[in-house]
Amino acid sequence: MPEPKPADSVGLVVPQFRHFDEPLALDCGVTLPAYDLCYETYGALNAAGDNAVLVCHALSGDAHAAGYHEEDSRKPGWWDNCIGPGKPLDTNRFFVVCANNLGGCNGSTGPLAVKPHSEKRYGPDFPIVTVRDWVRSQVRLADVLGVKQWAAVMGGSLGGMQVLQWTIDFPDRVRHAVVIAAAPRLSTQNIAFNEVARQAIRSDPEFHDGHYVEHGVMPERGLRLARMVGHITYLSDDVLHAKFGRELRDGKINFNFGVEFQIESYLRYQGESFVNRFDANTYLLMTKSLDYFDPAAEYGDDLTRALASCQASYLVISFSSDWRFSPKRSREIVRALLDNDLDVSYVDIESELGHDSFLLPIAQYHEVLRAYFDRVRTSP
């Protein structure tokens, strides 16, 4: 954390844990006998309990959305540029909650957790969880925190899908839904990319059918590759070109297979830093939740009908150069909301930065968020 603490930072934060004893029936048919959720909160819940905002994380996110864990932490939470005193999601006004999704590897029950009444970790036996399961698991957290209705639920990418699911499953518990860089379901191309990532992990000789921890190893090569592929799809061709072009690390080609182009070095770095913080089984689970998300499926593929019981007001945001969750996909959501006469505003933010834009402090984007949150009514 920089010294002195920046005025718009939530500062030092401590992750919290909540144990839930009541069994949770999952979409896959398995029932989790109990589970833990790791979460962080910023700001304070007001007396009326109507200023709580739930932030949903994306594929590789966690509960640490803002602030710093240690005095000497170099990096703040993953959405620190957006959450804090005076920031677009202003913690002076709102009580912000972010929970690590079930199946995650950063505190909430997932493949790294020890099975109940056992000494073994779940590993590959952790059931495949869906976006709907996450909402089910987190509504109990809302109850515990005394939040009857979220002032807003907000998230980008997979997190945006979770926002949509919240408003479908608990229409009376969400006043505003901020759905960023999301889609009503993955495209075929997206599922294809996820399968490449999964195969990279599963074909790593150190994967051991998911039991790598018992073998004292990690399928690092596979996870690294998965992240490299993912990372390419999160950025636009233009931004990769602008950042790295065809620049050579040694200034000349060497006629070998070492790192030559700067982009190669960058991707290896991204892959490397990812394996140090993420679990391969969790990565597999999260890509599956993405693939399975399809709220319209049980309504004859009619998204309008899927959203028919929704009550929230929506803000839908896309980014012009996002080709993984393109503006067109956001417009599908907008259209279904319009068909249901729901309150909705939609903005496509001009950005060269691809899907990753949703995590970046783009001026226009943050201005839209700020304007929207200004309208979210809360008791004093």
Binding site: L338, S345, A371
Partner: protein, 202 residues
């Protein structure tokens, strides 16, 4: 209706809008009209806008706004899903005004359209002098103007006749947005801004 801050043209429109109706405002700008209609007439609906700064203003006012290019069409909206589709001072800047009017009357039961009148005497005078008109309400030079499809009241009414559209009401204001005296006699000469309420016949 007293709606402070509205241009006379917008106040005219507000008078024509039935309370409690559903309205779509194409090119809604900063959302002022929709916000006033919501507050004073209990109107619900959406604005469509392309300019990002205007979109932020709409959101600040609590107006539902959809970021969209009118030239890309309105296929998102179902037939007859609005009571009124409004378009103020935008028709002349669209690529296919005639198709947009069709679209407006597909999704709305009635449409209200306003546009700068090229038939105003000041424009005619400049044409007589051999120049493209540049006036207070049409301040752009020919080479740098968003207005690519200018028309006169007569032209517009010809289009309505051709499309079998019924003109339910017509009004005119000047560039200071005051109602124009003498409008009944020489509308095409005196109106700087034309305001029409139209619907499909039958």
């Amino acid at each position: 209706m007293n709606m402070a801050g509205l241009r006379a043209e917008q106040a005219l429109i507000a008078d024509w809008i039935t309370a409690g109706s559903r309205v779509l405002d194409l090119g809604c700008g900063d959302g002022q009209l929709l916000a006033a209609l919501a507050e004073h007439k209990g109107v619900t609906g959406y604005g469509i806008e392309i300019d990002p700064d205007n979109i932020v203003s709409c959101i600040k006012r609590g107006v539902n706004v959809i970021h969209s290019d009118l030239d890309a069409g309105l296929s998102e909206f179902d037939p007859e899903s609005f009571d009124f589709v409004i378009m103020t001072q935008t028709l002349q800047a669209t690529r296919f005004p005639h198709e947009l009017i069709d679209e407006m009357l597909r999704i709305g039961r009635q449409s209200i359209v306003t546009f700068p009148n090229m038939g105003h005497w000041k424009c005619r005078a400049q044409f007589l002098l051999g120049r493209m008109p540049v006036t207070r309400h049409l301040p752009h030079t020919w080479y740098d103007t968003p207005n690519i499809h200018m028309c006169t009241l007569s032209d517009f009414e010809d289009l309505c006749a051709e499309k079998h559209l019924e003109v339910l009401a017509r009004a005119a204001v000047d560039s200071k947005h005051r109602a124009v005296p003498g409008m009944g006699l020489w509308p095409n000469l005196l109106a700087e801004i034309a305001v029409y309420r139209i619907r499909r016949r039958g």
